[in-house]
């Protein structure tokens, strides 16, 4: 056992030593023409190099697996017996060296996840009852503990800020590197960095229950969740490798050519085929993870690439999911003044439309707080009437205007109807007996959606569908604005599921995109469920793809990435098969022998890994801190 460990630990040194011995041996052979010396050196190289290979072969055989190492071991021993020291040494060296490079390059394809896991904090500063702090392993922090986080440190738990304030970079959880302000009562996530400030956080989730730990677990599992193609290749390899052994035996029995038989053993190694598909998926999933796109394994990747129908939930997905002022038609000379008056009026009400107006006024930096209201009166089902700074102000619907004997002009009527046709709720503002403004309030369409949907189509989506519980007018308006092909409104959650099933029955591959709030059944039913925005735990569990950032750029990237990854897998399989065909041809034609065969094999393995590594940088590097850069990136992608 100790010997095995020693060998395994020093495989790298063995590889170099073998390489050096081969160079020396070949020098003796060709430069000094000292054949005996050369043979001795090459034989020593073979013996040293075969040890780690043979150990692997033996270990695999113990659990009844015929491994590539076994094929190589037999071939090398064979070559040794017939005195082909040259071949045996080079084959073993190439095999070890190939493995070494394979490991290095594989590490690169896994690097995206590694950088994620390395962000996991290991200790937390927990505040004790007596006011001192103690450094505690993150696994030992209890729910409810108060944790201190200083500038530059990673937040060790999921929790709520109870004291202090600062800026956190939540790239680890959302994939978007941007400073987010955190102050009392804000939620913070484990794994995110406090780039500035000081926080005291009350832990709500610790250890493996935090969002970040869940993300890592999900991605790790995803990279090992195999696609159909991979499972097929695995099964194939399981029988293929022993079959090669039998074929070599058959070749020897029929042809009585020992050399030919052991050459078949080396050429038969299934190298590139076995590694080709998984390595593409690992790289593809890693690319997504860096951008806050979690694709749950090779299977999901494969299905996603074949999706032709995207079904969207409207509220919270295509739209922002909260009402806001969509448009203001102003009929006076001082729009700001009208807005200030309206906002002041709305401070008297807690109507949702009113809150939208207040938010809007705040965002526009309109000062309304100091206005003085008197004689205010709420008319049920109509609106509010009051005097502000001596002027009569009315905010409400048409009925309210009629009550106060105010009429809309023809133009204003037309504006009102146009606003209503967009699915907006409307309110009319009158100041001093004159209609002053029309305000439309609606669940606003996200600004980037239209362009991104067009990109989704360009990337291969054929049919875009919107399903919503909202009314038909609003639904039609939103669909029309965004270029959606099919709309169904006024639906209950289970009716949405029925539509998804119907599309599937038509032979369409359906992706359902939702925010995970009450659309989990549809997420689960669709071929690919895509949860947008960090959403709920349930959504993360039932969906196949999770977009931590609630934006459509991620969706388009994920779709293109899936297609690219599947294409990459195919390329790798083709490369692998082409190599085997080339080797067989070479064997028949007589220009491929053991050492050259092993060389081609190892080279092809590196080729497929390098091919997969292209996926790591697919779509450029994720947007970093600088808001200007972000702005540029936005304009570019739009």
């Amino acid at each position: 056992m100790k010997f095995q460990m020693y060998i395994q630990k020093h495989t790298k040194q063995i590889t170099w030593l073998t390489g050096a011995l081969i160079v020396a041996g070949l020098a003796l052979q060709y430069l000094a023409h000292f054949q005996l010396g050369a043979n001795i050196l090459l034989a020593i190289a073979s013996v040293i190099a075969i040890i780690p290979i043979a150990i692997h072969a033996y270990q695999a055989l113990k659990v009844k697996v015929v491994s590539i190492e076994l094929l190589v071991t037999i071939a090398v021993i064979g070559a040794f017996i017939i005195g082909e020291y040259n071949e045996s040494a080079i084959v073993t060296f190439l095999f070890l060296f190939g493995n070494f490079l394979e490991q290095k390059t594989l590490d690169k394809t896994r690097a995206s996840i590694k950088t994620l896991t390395e962000m996991t904090p290991t200790t937390a500063l927990v505040l004790q009852d007596d006011g001192t702090t103690e450094t505690v392993d993150v696994d030992d922090v209890e729910k409810g503990d108060r944790v201190l986080v200083k500038t530059g440190a990673a937040i060790p738990v999921d929790g709520v800020v109870v004291d202090g304030s600062g800026y956190a970079d939540e790239a680890a959880v959302t994939g978007e590197s941007r400073a987010v302000k955190k102050t009392t009562d804000d939620q913070v996530f484990s794994g995110t960095m406090l780039s500035d400030g000081y926080l005291q956080v009350k832990a709500t989730k610790v250890g493996d229950d935090t969002t970040f730990a869940k993300i890592i677990e999900l991605v790790e599992d995803a990279q090992d969740t195999k696609s159909h193609a991979e499972k097929f290749i695995d099964r194939f390899a399981k029988y293929y490798t022993p079959a090669v052994l039998l074929i070599a035996l058959a070749v020897f029995i029929i042809s009585r050519d020992f050399k030919l038989a052991i050459t078949v053993l080396v050429l038969g190694c299934p190298g590139a085929l076995v590694i080709g598909a998984p390595v593409s998926n690992v790289a593809g999933i890693g690319n997504g993870a860096k951008r806050g796109i979690l694709i749950k394994g090779g299977e999901a990747m494969d299905t996603f690439a074949h999706v032709d129908t995207f079904v969207f939930d409207k509220t919270g997905t295509l739209t922002q999911g909260k009402t806001a002022v969509s448009e203001i038609k102003n009929y006076t000379t001082d729009a700001a003044q009208v807005l200030a008056l309206t906002a002041k009026m709305e401070t008297l009400s807690d109507h949702p439309l009113g809150r939208a107006v207040l938010t809007y006024a705040d965002n526009q930096n309109v000062a309304y707080q100091d206005l003085v209201v008197s004689n205010n009166q709420t008319l049920k089902g109509q609106g509010i009437a009051a005097e502000i700074n001596g002027e009569q102000v009315l905010v409400g619907n048409l009925k309210l205007m009629t009550t106060y004997k105010l009429a809309l002009s023809a133009d204003q009527q037309a504006d009102l109807q146009a606003l209503q046709a967009t699915g907006s709720s409307t309110m009319i503002v009158a100041v001093a007996g004159k209609i002053a403004a029309l305000i439309g309030v609606a669940d606003i369409i996200r600004p980037e959606v239209k362009a991104q949907l067009a990109k989704l189509k360009a990337a291969g989506a054929k049919h875009l569908v919107m399903l919503t519980g909202d009314n038909q007018v609003t639904a039609d308006y939103v669909a029309n604005e965004l270029g959606i092909d099919e709309v169904h409104a006024e639906l209950l959650p289970d009716q949405k599921v029925e539509f998804v099933k119907q599309f599937q029955a038509n032979g369409q591959k359906v992706a359902f995109v939702g925010d995970g709030i009450n659309d989990s059944p549809s997420l689960a039913t669709a071929d690919i469920g895509i949860a947008m925005g960090s959403g709920t735990d349930v959504a993360i569990e039932t969906s196949d793809v999770v977009l931590m950032q609630s934006n459509f750029t991620s969706l388009v990237h994920a779709y293109r990435l899936a297609k690219k990854t599947v294409l990459n897998t195919k390329e790798n399989v083709v490369i692998a098969i082409a190599v085997v065909a080339f080797l067989l041809l070479g064997l028949v034609a007589g220009f491929i022998y053991m050492a050259s065969g092993m060389f081609v094999h190892e080279a092809s393995i590196l080729v497929v890994i390098f091919n997969a590594m292209r996926l790591i940088h697919f779509g450029g590097s994720p947007v970093k801190n600088n808001p200007d850069v972000q702005q540029q990136a936005m304009t570019q992608t739009n």
Binding site: M1, Q4, M5, Q8, I55, H56, Q59, A60, K62, V63, K64, V65, S67, I68, E69, N99, E102, Q103, L106, D107, R110, I113, D139, D208, E220, D221, Q223, D224, D234, V274, P278, V282
Partner: protein
Amino acid sequence: MNKKVILQLDALTCPSCLTKIEGALKAQPGVGTIKVLFNAGKVKAEIDDSQTSADALSDVVTKLGYEVQGVKVKDL
């Protein structure tokens, strides 16, 4: 099965390592489902702690020639 053991290994490079590790651990008494994550280099196993322990599993894996870098035990 009342505990879940997670072993963090050095990077795994050969797919046959998976079968090896899985096979060896399955042969231990008191071991339930086992998952070896190739890319993450992790072993996740459910065990019955009256029959075996995380350290015992760690020993088995070490003897196969893989370095165990970390051991975590969780209640199920």
